[in-house]
Symmetry: C2
Subunit: 415 residues, 2 copies
Amino acid sequence: MSTFVQVPAESDFPIQNLPYGIFSTSCNANRRVGVAIGEQILDLSAVANFYPEYVQNALRANVLNPLMALGYDAWNDVRTITRDLLLAGSSLDKNEELKKRAIFKQSDSTMHLPASIGDYTDFYSSIHHATNVGIMFRGKENALMPNWKYLPVGYHGRASSVVVSGTPINRPLGQTQPVDGEAPVFGPCRLMDFELEMAFFIGGPPTKLGERVTTKEAAKRVFGFVLMNDWSARDVQKWEYVPLGPFTAKNLGTSISAWVVPVAALQPFAVPNFPQEPKPFPYLQHDEVFNFNIELFVDIKPENGTQVTVSHSNYRHLYWTALQQIAHHSVTGCNLNPGDLLASGTISGETEDSYGSMLEISWKGTRSISVGENQTRKFLQDGDEVVIRGFCNGDYRIGFGDVRGKVLPAIPFEN
Amino acid sequence: MSTFVQVPAESDFPIQNLPYGIFSTSCNANRRVGVAIGEQILDLSAVANFYPEYVQNALRANVLNPLMALGYDAWNDVRTITRDLLLAGSSLDKNEELKKRAIFKQSDSTMHLPASIGDYTDFYSSIHHATNVGIMFRGKENALMPNWKYLPVGYHGRASSVVVSGTPINRPLGQTQPVDGEAPVFGPCRLMDFELEMAFFIGGPPTKLGERVTTKEAAKRVFGFVLMNDWSARDVQKWEYVPLGPFTAKNLGTSISAWVVPVAALQPFAVPNFPQEPKPFPYLQHDEVFNFNIELFVDIKPENGTQVTVSHSNYRHLYWTALQQIAHHSVTGCNLNPGDLLASGTISGETEDSYGSMLEISWKGTRSISVGENQTRKFLQDGDEVVIRGFCNGDYRIGFGDVRGKVLPAIPFEN
């Protein structure tokens, strides 16, 4: 397959990828549906009339929710037509005037949140991460909670505070308990952390309250994946989370990458699902392979420093699949909507260089890592930019771009 | 103050109340903004031209979010004009043709969810409830967690599963662990429960990520209150909630009453804030009284049985105020949007007859209560309808209507 758009070697966005995003340009502030190709964006609103009528409104929307809602067959239709339009010799290729109106440089564009996120859920599906955190806080014997291998543990997150890559995050103020058993203090978070995650958007029509989505149905409900940095105030979390879970330690901001990579683009990189023992309940079982070899990297770029990789992990380390996450999410009857965002939880591998958070990398702050000349870190400092990158590598690369965000100083409190 | 609409004695909706709701009628399926008065609804979309131009679009919307977004001063403007329109001798009173187009019987109307709820948060702010649950699960010595008196403990809930009064709720399927230390089982929830709560909607313009709302600013951010039944699968919750909090045990449905009672209507029933010791951090302090004497009742009506009151509680039992809940919610920078719903958590009083859940009333299933002739309950049975009512009583009554929902049998699992 060869496209008329120039695609650099090692680009995240060859014609095999075709991820969706919402973008605007300096000449046109309207938010439009775009597809990344090389270093360009194809504006689907400008070529909508090449597509079947039933998808055209979705391609002219300012968020991806309508396209997500159309469902699996529509996604395949749109993907096929988009690919054909981008092939050398296509009707688009031959139309110079239309190309000028429909193709934009990514470097001249602003990316926006891809969807209006109705609800955001965060799982805890990496066995290495859950084990590491468990060892730190409860010791080796009780590392994994008894429920962990029976169900994909998860919790409801804050949808309003999900932001697109590039949004800076202020170090939060909050309550922490520096010494166990003593009174808490109020002030800037001291243990600011990232969490290396991936997340997917729900597609298809809204389900009804009381309706369950089976693992079989779930396969057609995954619209596509993004990278995620679930910023975490570890000291705030430790003090607040008992007994109802993390709250203000997480709602200070959750960053996602701008491009949503379709499942179809990931399928050539499928790898066997993580072995599960004990065998899960029937409602969590599925034969379909739904695990992917996606290499993940976390870099830290200190203010005035150079970007250093501090973690190299992989999506394949997840114990629970996206299909199991969906089936479990809805098992008690929770309704799902197109645009809902379901995240993996921190993705850690087995080895220290693949841990997905500073909490694990610094082992609860007991060791430092180097982030460039004369610079060490246990947790994040003001001015640090965190960059998460990810891609599948083969004959071509299916990449996610990146999700980046800089830690800004805390804003002083005034009552 | 005398209105031309006939208001029965003991009505929840005298002219001093004027709660907002979203309704439709058999002749007009469009959802419109209405105000309850006696047994009638004033259709604000039909009288919008009596209001200043800057609020008219909000009065013609199909959810309350635009009105909520306009903010405190607009709410006062709208309330004053609505009251004046309903007074005997008003221009509306004198216009028989307009009255026919603008006033509808509640009994001929269908109520809808009052707002598009972006995010839903549930607090845990009743000291008696938190203490009771603590005693049951951790013993008397460790009943209240160390953080409880320092911050309003809360967690993010599921916005999609918030439904309006009258929506039936299917008994959920889920995982439970009937015997501690043994393997879990999958099947219908056995310990289905209600939670007596109240909740309020956030108003004013959206805040930005990183922005904090002080307790002082918070007072102008509370649009109005509703009754809430936060349905809970206790056995599912016990198994799943460690370490990230309740998830599928709660997202099976949360019911709210249809009428949103403005703070202005509650102010004559203000009572001193709950005494707080230790004194909270400055960001949680406020002088303003923001506690209300709202009597709350939970009734159970078994299938083919009669409605029996099983709890009589009061909003005033809450330790943390709504203003403190808002300030804490945003202290780490979480952005708030008009239409966000913040709930109190189960409101229990000190005495057994004022407990706000079957978990407490049956003391973890160790005692039964009577719900009519030859009928006893420890938890809810299929066919039980739960009805929560609430009102302030004085020279007149400021009521909330009710929030009701019936427990339907579990839907069998098919993969």
